[in-house]
């Protein structure tokens, strides 16, 4: 299985053990080198030596922003305090993303081990995993893993006789997207409303309970042990100049092979979509791929050969994010895609700052107006200006990136916006107000199958005579097209004419 995956152009570091072992049996994890790195760190390395290894490896945070992990640990290690904390951010919230969940379900010890290593490096004896309560299996396996590791003396007091103590507790999130932002996550763990606060102070100086706290994402932690065992040079030999190692992506959308993949940084979108992903479903034409979740943007055909790394994605108007990758084909309307993400943000904004709370709602309303065929050219200008102001003034990372789907679609698919606004046309046939169904009189035999299935009685016609769809009644459910055996019903890309 491992070989097969490697042949496909994938390289599994974070996912190395997923599917290879029984996550509920620590012995199987140990057989695949779990806690070897922790042992090595505790016996052979000083905290600073271990941090240096991470710095040399070039590992950057996999949660989205890509902050150098070694540097983050170093800052936390230098903060003076009687108590510090290691926090694992397992509040995976991007729509369609499930990388962290797979790691926690398939290889929980890789995260526990790395948290203990982090604790040793920064001088913390307490670890917390903030995990969404919607991940019951991951929670169950984490609990089992923590219990077994305690039993084996790999967590708890005096680990491996080194004198180092480390314990890990779970904290449950109630499923708020914003709680993936580290200050919001910390407030949520403290029992407060999950809301971000201004940075600085960064958690490394004042985090959980106002103590220095190092927050890393699940996937980041999953990379730690291999780096310690195989060395920083091995890790930094993989990837591009500034982005080392691999990245896990959740492939979804109009692609043949959906699911998780792990590829070296620098792999192109073309390789991912056409080789690993097996191409677009039903051989339709590729239109875009959305990366970076709701904070990301859409990449188009012109980006297909761009090597994927942190910098290139940002330059292309998107971002790495946690690794969601949603592929779209010619039947996807890009205005509606932007609207979908804005809808998500409007519901998930914490509501604290004005630009995110009200501004995103107004962006959404303008997009809705456009998809309903009521847009005017001024709206496009308004979208752009408001987007820039939200980016410029919002309080946290969520708000500062929330207009990205709008800006990147405006940039890459301006034609589609223009068509919606000026021609009142949705070329993807997605916006229900901008097309209607027509029955071809020559093909219709008057069987009335469409008439019988229409939920709103929009279709009329006598038996064995051509039928007619009243667009003013029709709700564009598409049921009639499905039912027609004679291909007599088709979509006409002209706006609904309101009487």
């Amino acid at each position: 299985m491992e070989k097969q995956i490697t042949q496909q152009g994938q390289l599994r570091i974070a996912l190395r053990n997923c599917g290879m072992l029984d996550p509920e049996n620590i012995a199987e994890s140990i057989a695949r080198d779990a806690y070897q790195a922790l042992g090595k760190v505790l016996k052979e390395l000083s905290p600073q030596e271990c941090i240096n290894i991470l710095k040399q490896s070039g590992l950057r945070g996999r949660g989205g922003a890509g902050f150098p992990t070694g540097l983050k640990w170093e800052i936390a290690s230098k903060s003076q305090s009687d108590q510090k904390y290691v926090v694992c951010n397992a509040d995976e919230g991007d729509p369609g993303a499930f990388m962290d969940r797979s790691i926690l379900e398939g290889d929980p010890h890789s995260v526990l081990e790395a948290m203990a290593i982090c604790g040793y490096c920064i001088g913390a004896d307490k670890g917390l995993i903030y995990i969404r309560a919607e991940y019951p299996l991951a929670i169950k396996r984490l609990r089992i893993a923590i219990d077994q590791a305690m039993e084996y003396g790999l967590l708890g007091k005096n680990i491996l006789g080194s004198g180092f103590n480390f314990e890990i507790k779970l904290r449950y999130g109630a499923g708020a997207f914003v709680c993936g932002e580290e200050t919001a996550l910390i407030h949520s763990m403290e029992g407060k409303r999950g809301e971000p606060t201004n940075k600085p102070p960064f958690p490394a100086t004042s985090g959980f309970m106002k103590k220095p706290t190092n927050v890393n994402n699940v996937e980041t932690f999953a990379n730690i042990a291999p780096i310690i065992l195989k060395g920083p040079d091995w890790f930094s030999s993989i990837g591009t100049k500034n982005s080392k190692g691999t990245k896990v992506f959740a492939l979804a959308g109009k692609i043949n092979n959906v699911g998780l993949i792990e590829v070296p940084m620098g792999t192109s979108l073309r390789e991912i979509i056409y080789e690993i992903g097996g191409g677009i479903k039903e051989d339709k034409k590729f239109k875009a791929v959305q990366t970076g979740g709701p904070s990301g943007g859409c990449l188009t055909e012109k980006h297909l050969d761009t090597p994927i790394d942190y910098e290139n994605l940002i330059e292309a108007g998107s971002m790495m994010g946690s690794g969601g990758m949603i592929v779209m084909d010619e039947n996807d309307c890009m205005v509606s895609v932007a609207k979908f993400y804005l809808d998500f943000i409007v519901g998930e904004s914490c509501g604290k700052c004005t630009p995110c709370r009200v501004g995103n709602k107004r962006l959404y309303e303008i997009l809705e107006k456009i998809t309903q065929g009521k847009g005017v050219m001024k709206d496009l200008e308004k979208l752009k200006n408001l987007s820039y102001i939200i980016k410029d003034t919002a309080l946290c990372g969520l708000g500062q990136t929330s207009p990205n789907p709008v800006l990147s679609t405006l940039e890459n698919f301006y034609d589609e916006y223009y068509e919606h606004v000026v021609e009142k046309k949705c070329r993807a046939g997605h916006c229900k107000n901008l097309f209607h169904y027509v029955i071809n009189e020559e093909l219709c035999v008057g069987c009335a199958a469409c008439k019988r299935c229409c939920p709103v009685h929009a279709i009329t016609g006598d038996k064995r005579m051509p039928h007619y769809i009243d667009s003013n009644i029709c709700i564009r459910c598409g049921e009639c097209i499905e039912k027609c055996s004679f291909d007599a019903i088709s979509i006409q890309l002209e706006p609904k004419i309101l009487v």
Partner: protein
């Protein structure tokens, strides 16, 4: 302390490390506009969630704009507070806020005092470019406070004051995204929440989202009713703040003009709550001495410390949070209620008016007083001792509506017999004032000697919790003072844990005492106003000939003719009350 040098609008500024850009700018006279931010200097009250984003400024080398209120200065920082980029962003932010705000300024209680309105005016906003849905919520009316959170702009000031300053915990942000708003938990009514009606949330709300229940119209109807005799009492703090509403400098005492105005508005008798404050001291002071003597005699059931009970917000807080300590406050009613009880018995008899034909109105700096006068304990056969309680703000509006040229009124005197008061009654408005007034009387009653220095300076001040030792002719009396309910909670926690050695404790719900009450003219974050009101109260006391409650001739006459002795049978019937356990306040959850 490390100093940081930076440049703001090309001016070099040197400030202490940790200073925000906002404060650094103010130091050199650059006023960056703010909305959610509010600070009461020297009172440890600051709200800076950094949420409205109106104060954003441009910092060289920074990708996005920086909120001045929460961004700390850094060495060599180059800040520009009014670039085109900044002005455009600020204006858009305010437009966004207004786009989700009802356009009912014409009839809004906050019109003219609204900070959103003034910032919109300042920014020259004439059109809202964003049309869309507005977030709407259920209107919630409690006995004291109206929540109309369609007007909430999520500045979080109320939440900060309710949770951090008052530790009441009635208000916090709920919901996510566009429909986020500050509300009681589970969207229950304020009335069923732990709210104490202290009104501090109202005093800091920048918009009309939190306002008082307006009784002006009901009072107007009573004044029109020829069959009613309408009398009014005015609390000490009202005269120290009312002038602000007419453009007078803060701290201007307007006692005489206020009396003249009330008389012209048609009140049949204009009385003074200070008279009832003197009465409160007689009862509370006597109770204190009684308990103290019992304690000194070694009686096991002697209840000490005694807590003052004249602040209704504090009483609500106690009943909800410390139901196990209901036996320790003084049982004396508040001055407002003592006044009502005496007015509708002693005074009604004197003028030959039936109880139900006498309407008692009170002018208070307070919102909890509105609730207090509606309590069942203070009614006789359903008829309340005090019919309506109005705030200083309502009184000012009422005077303006009555077309009275307030500033040119002559100074007039209160009516008698319930209008004569001493300096002791006046200082009730300041933190430490009630206990000082009580000590002036208790000292003389206990020692039988004349008090040499009337002012107890060691009881005065602005510290949240203060303690003082008073020498009662050899007996050392330990006095505790707390203002702001978080401080009250701390003192009460000690009492509950048996760690308190105080004989008497004064508690005021509002930080600063009644002068900063929820019904006072809005301070808009200017703590200097509060300081001047405080000074005005002390200067009124200083100017009084009689400054000890037990020397008030009308009080002495009241006891002689009607009540008998302090804490006697009749006093207990009319002037004392009981407290109830409200920790199991019925919770009603609305699902709409």
């Amino acid at each position: 302390m490390e100093m940081i040098e930076l440049s703001i609008d090309n001016k070099l500024v040197s400030v202490q490390k940790g200073t925000t850009i906002l404060k650094a700018a103010r130091k050199v006279g650059i006023d960056i506009p703010t909305l959610c931010h509010m600070e009461l200097h020297n009172m440890s009250i600051e709200n800076k969630p950094g949420s409205c984003r109106v104060c954003v400024v441009e910092v060289d080398g920074r990708r996005n704009l920086a909120p001045a209120c929460v961004t700390e200065v850094a060495p060599g920082m180059v800040v520009n507070t009014h670039t085109a980029r900044v002005l455009n962003a600020r204006k858009t932010i305010v437009e966004l806020l207004i786009s989700d705000h009802p356009y009912d300024c014409l009839v809004c209680a906050k019109s003219g005092n609204c900070e959103l309105q003034s910032i919109a005016h300042k920014f020259g906003i004439r059109r809202i470019h964003f049309k869309g849905e507005k977030s709407t919520y259920r209107k919630d009316t409690s006995p004291s406070i109206i929540r109309d959170v369609d007007k909430c702009i999520m500045c979080r000031r109320c939440e900060m004051i309710c949770n951090e300053v008052q530790t009441v915990g009635a208000l916090s942000a709920v919901n996510r995204g566009f429909i986020s708003v500050v509300a009681p938990a589970f969207e229950m009514d304020l009335e069923h929440s732990p709210c104490t009606y202290c009104g501090q949330c109202v005093s800091v709300c920048p918009t009309g989202a939190l306002t008082e229940v307006d009784s002006t119209h009901k009072v107007l109807l009573s004044l029109m009713d020829k069959s009613k005799t309408v009398i009014v009492q005015t609390a000490p703090s009202v005269r120290a703040a009312l002038g602000e509403e007419f453009g007078l400098p803060p701290g201007t005492l307007v006692t005489g003009k206020m009396v003249a105005a009330l008389r012209r508005m048609g009140f049949d008798y204009v009385f003074d709550t200070d008279f009832a404050a003197d009465l409160t001291i007689m009862e509370e002071g006597t109770e204190l001495l009684g308990r103290l003597r019992a304690h000194l005699a070694g009686e096991s059931n002697a209840k000490l410390p005694i807590l003052t009970s004249c602040c209704p917000g504090w009483v609500n807080f106690l009943e909800y949070n410390f139901p196990d300590l209901l036996h320790i406050p003084s049982t004396a009613k508040s001055p407002q209620q003592m006044f009502g009880a005496i007015a509708k018995t002693y005074f009604a008899d004197q003028i030959g008016v039936k109880r139900q034909d006498l309407v008692v109105v009170s002018m208070m700096p307070c919102l909890a007083k509105k609730y207090e006068c509606q309590r069942d304990e203070f009614k006789v056969n359903g008829n309340p001792d005090v019919d309506f309680s109005m705030t200083t703000r309502e009184l000012a509006d009422f005077i303006k509506q009555s077309n009275i040229d307030f500033l040119n009124l002559p100074d007039e005197e209160f009516d008698n017999p319930l209008g004569e008061s001493t300096g002791a009654g006046v200082i009730f408005g300041n933190t430490g004032g009630v206990i000082e007034a009580a000590c002036r009387t208790a000292y003389e009653l206990y020692t039988g000697k004349k008090l040499e220095t009337i002012e107890f300076e060691n009881l005065r001040g602005t510290e949240g919790i203060r303690s003082a030792k008073l020498d009662f002719d050899g007996l050392t009396l330990n006095i505790g003072i707390a203002h702001g309910l978080s401080n009250a909670r701390r003192l009460l926690g000690d009492v509950r844990a048996g760690k308190s050695n105080y004989h008497a404790i004064e508690i005021m719900a509002c930080t600063g005492g009644c002068i900063a009450g929820g019904g006072q003219p809005y301070h808009h974050g200017n703590s200097e106003i509060l300081r001047k009101r405080r000074d005005a109260i002390y200067s009124e006391d200083k100017g009084k000939i009689i400054r000890k409650s037990h020397e008030n001739p009308y009080i002495l006459k009241l006891y002689k003719d009607f009540l008998g002795q302090a804490c006697g049978h009749k006093s207990h019937e009319l002037l004392h009350t009981v407290y109830h356990d409200k920790s199991n306040n019925e919770v009603t959850i609305h699902h709409d």
